[in-house]
Symmetry: C2
Subunit: 306 residues, 2 copies
């Protein structure tokens, strides 16, 4: 784990109780919105809807929705339109997890401490649930109570982040990399696409749902925490147990996947995460207290233990 | 095959050379647009882009793009915006075929006379290619040279058609139906979702890219030809060889999937297709010659031999 001592003092001050309360409220808000938006299990096709709800509503860190809410708060956005942005980003993330866990990909049986979708249901249902969730992500944005121009802009961000220039492209590079030597530059590029693109989209979509202030600074922030997020993931994969993570620990090393820890070593990986954390905070330096949630989330992403 | 004798005389008159020429030109236009829009194989991740291009650019009937172009012609739309609508609908269709052919679904090795994507590449690449194509469909609409309101409306149609209320839902019902008895009403509902929703979206999106005339009539037309399309598919699956179809013939019966032929019998299935064909033409009765391409496509869909 990365210790708080590595953090700049200014950020350590706020990152305790207020964030926890805000996070609890935001998570509850997200779960309510998802429960209301997702098709009911009583609607045909029941089993598919059941699988989708199983995948979406089983918790998780919800880092992407939290980033949407925090960026929205900074941009003066709130209400149902912001919920739609949070739902859409998380649906794309959850669809990618469902597909990633399938036997033809990572073949994982445990996710957030529960059987993965293809284990709890079956492979065909898992594939369809992922496919349908991607469509649902765009559907929820298309139906969002926002101006048409804003809806179009949100869908554009999400589509780009999910494309071969983003998440799917990163996945493909990741697959091809198993057992191969990888330079740090290649590893960074892969993660900027695989996880960074959607984290960036989360921040931008939250901002676009409001008055979209200083997008360039928001992007700089998002790129820094996006990469830090992945480095911390790699650190935790080595230092934590499966029980702590809620998923199979040590799997990357076992599968011969290059990670920041395997490429850089543990100490250098932690140092880099801390540097990116500072960079994220610097990107927000010109903003007032409205950016505090984003600052606190940067702390959370680097200090988390799962 | 359904014979021309079953068609109303008015429609038989136009449905020969002019349609063939228009179709050739439209298909060439679509291929050019797809080739220009899809990421190049030289761009990372190369293998994924290769698989996507392999899947999209290997021909096919292109019924959905043709419907987009025909509806666009009726609505006074043309140009690059209409191409984007045609690309988006076909990308969603092709993604569904790639996933449908996977071992965990239909496990098919032949598509349009060539090895399916997971056979030509591998399962993981096929899954990612499908995932990425769905994202690309929304990306091409998001970037289309159309007003933001039109882009948002097009994405809304497509997302709905691809969702569990449309294509993915129909797929799930289809999967659950293997080896089960199915009423005609259930079979119709399944196909209205599985293939009908996207064919309907094609017609509506073409219309929305222009001045969207008489959407209710367009919808009536699209629902009729959507169902007719599937009935003819079922007829051809029994009456044609694999070589004629470019895919494995007789597979539905072999897998115990309910079809219009198995539920209704061959003669009643053909009669119903002819009735739906007349219904489609009646829906267009109030329109002038600008609707001729849609009329001719109705003929083509019912009279086709593959």
């Amino acid at each position: 784990m990365i210790t708080a001592a590595a953090l700049p003092v200014t950020s350590r001050i706020d990152a305790t109780v207020p964030l926890a309360r805000w996070m609890d409220a935001s998570l509850a808000r997200f779960e309510r919105a998802a429960d209301a938006q997702l098709p009911a299990v009583s609607v045909q096709p029941q089993r598919l809807h059941e699988a989708i709800r199983y995948a979406v509503l089983q918790g998780g860190k919800r880092v992407r929705p939290l980033l949407v809410y925090a960026a929205g708060e900074m941009a003066g956005a709130s209400g149902a339109g912001l919920d739609c942005a949070a739902l859409a980003v998380e649906y794309v993330h959850v669809y990618s997890l469902i597909h990633d866990d399938l036997p033809c990909m990572d073949n994982d049986v445990l996710r957030r401490g529960k059987p993965t979708v293809h284990v709890a249901f079956d492979e065909a249902t898992a594939m369809l649930a992922g496919d349908a969730l991607q469509a649902e992500a765009f559907k929820v944005l298309a139906d969002a109570p926002l101006a048409a121009g804003v809806r179009a802009a949100l869908m554009r961000e999400l589509a780009f982040a999910a494309s071969t220039a983003g998440m799917c492209g990163g996945q493909a590079i990741d697959l091809a990399a198993v057992g191969q030597p990888m330079t740090l530059a290649n590893l960074e590029q892969m993660h900027r696409m695989k996880t960074g693109a959607l984290l960036l989209a989360a921040v931008k979509m939250g901002a676009l749902a409001g008055d979209a202030p200083a997008l360039a600074s928001m992007e700089r922030y998002a790129r820094a925490i996006g990469l830090a997020f992945q480095i911390v993931d790699d650190v935790l994969d080595v230092e934590s147990t499966s029980a702590e993570l809620g998923k199979t620990a040590g799997k990357d090393a076992e599968q011969g996947k290059p990670t920041y820890v395997s490429v850089l070593g543990m100490d250098a990986a932690k140092e880099w995460a801390a540097r990116l954390h500072r960079e994220a905070l610097e990107a927000l330096a010109d903003f007032d207290r409205r950016a505090d949630r984003l600052r606190q989330l940067a702390d959370f992403i680097v200090l988390r233990s799962r």
